[in-house]
């Protein structure tokens, strides 16, 4: 989360859908976010150095140029690659695919959420992203407590060892 602004990648082969999603999230999210759009999984992977907090990805990817027969990786393959390279990124699959097997595969591979692309999916996504970012903001505080407790525990054990060794001598 660079500069306290969450980074959100939107990955879909449909430029129009990307534009609509980006417009909707920019207008409706309760916080400022850097929203970047990519039309293929390959493009998304090439920009992972930006360390996105959330990646929203489609299932099917077809080349925008109909004369280009190059096969693009699908959303499930992309999830696999993202899990290896960016394990802390929250992955959301957003697809018109209603086959439950695809949703199962996506979750199994490492997606945290699966949203069916329908007319009001941008609104659903807006609330989901809001909740994810809210949870992330509060998670580090919990971690500070955890590490603090461990440090106190270690100090306590060292003190006892010191006292015991002092008593023996």
């Amino acid at each position: 989360m660079a500069n306290d602004q969450p980074i959100i990648f939107l990955v879909d082969d449909d430029e129009l859908y990307l534009l609509r999603l980006k417009d909707h999230l920019t207008e409706k999210l309760a916080f400022a976010a850097r929203i970047l759009t990519y039309t293929s999984g390959e493009e998304c992977l090439a920009n992972l150095s930006m360390e996105p907090d959330i990646v929203v990805l489609d299932y099917y990817f077809t080349p925008n140029d109909s004369r280009n027969d190059k096969k693009l990786m699908n959303g499930i393959e992309l999830i696999g690659r993202l899990k290896e390279s960016a394990p802390n990124t929250h992955l959301i699959m957003l697809s018109t695919e209603t086959d439950v097997e695809v949703a199962n595969m996506a979750i199994k591979e490492g997606a945290k959420d699966y949203i069916i692309k329908y007319e009001y999916a941008p609104i659903q996504l807006q609330y989901l992203i809001g909740n994810i970012i809210l949870n992330r903001k509060f998670t580090p505080k919990a971690n500070y407590w955890k590490w603090g407790a461990i440090a106190i525990g270690v100090l306590f054990i060292l003190m006892i060892i010191y006292l015991i060794s002092g008593l023996k001598s």
Binding site: D14, E15, T62
Partner: protein, 142 residues
């Protein structure tokens, strides 16, 4: 009598002046576009989204015709899937339903639903006409 029931007089006037005939000639004003979706767009978004939609959809429909000719039903399914998604964004409900039917047919039966494809082309032509009337979006730009 008409002064006591003004709504009836109004209805009568509409029939008399032929406004209904004029409305009937409009290309499916109420069912082509999902008003709830479109009303969420700003004017600038309407222009941007529909310009992009018309440009992309015309390319996809031409490619679908080629797929049908070449009997490439996997490619047809993939393009119909893409058109379904784009149509959903702009609230083009009938286009979305037809694209979805073509996608399903290609997926399940490995065949082209020619009848639905012809309907899709007709609906696209009507949508172009509707967008020209409502928003002055001109398809001839492409």
């Amino acid at each position: 009598m008409w002064t006591k029931v003004p709504c009836l007089k109004f209805s009568f006037d509409i029939v008399k002046t032929g406004i209904f005939d004029e409305l009937k000639s409009q290309p499916m004003l109420n069912s082509q576009l999902d008003e709830d979706i479109v009303s969420r767009f700003s004017h600038q978004q309407v222009i941007t989204y529909f310009n992009l939609y018309l440009k992309n959809a015309s390319v996809i429909i031409d490619s679908m015709a080629e797929d049908i000719q070449n009997k490439d039903y996997e490619s047809l399914r993939s393009r119909a899937h893409k058109l379904k998604g784009s149509s959903m964004v702009v609230g083009a409900g009938i286009m979305k339903e037809l694209a979805s039917a073509i996608e399903q047919h290609a997926k399940e039966k490995n065949k082209a639903d020619i009848e639905k494809f012809e309907q899709l082309k007709d609906q696209f032509a009507e949508l172009i006409h509707l967008l020209k009337i409502r928003y002055n979006i001109s398809y001839e730009n492409y």
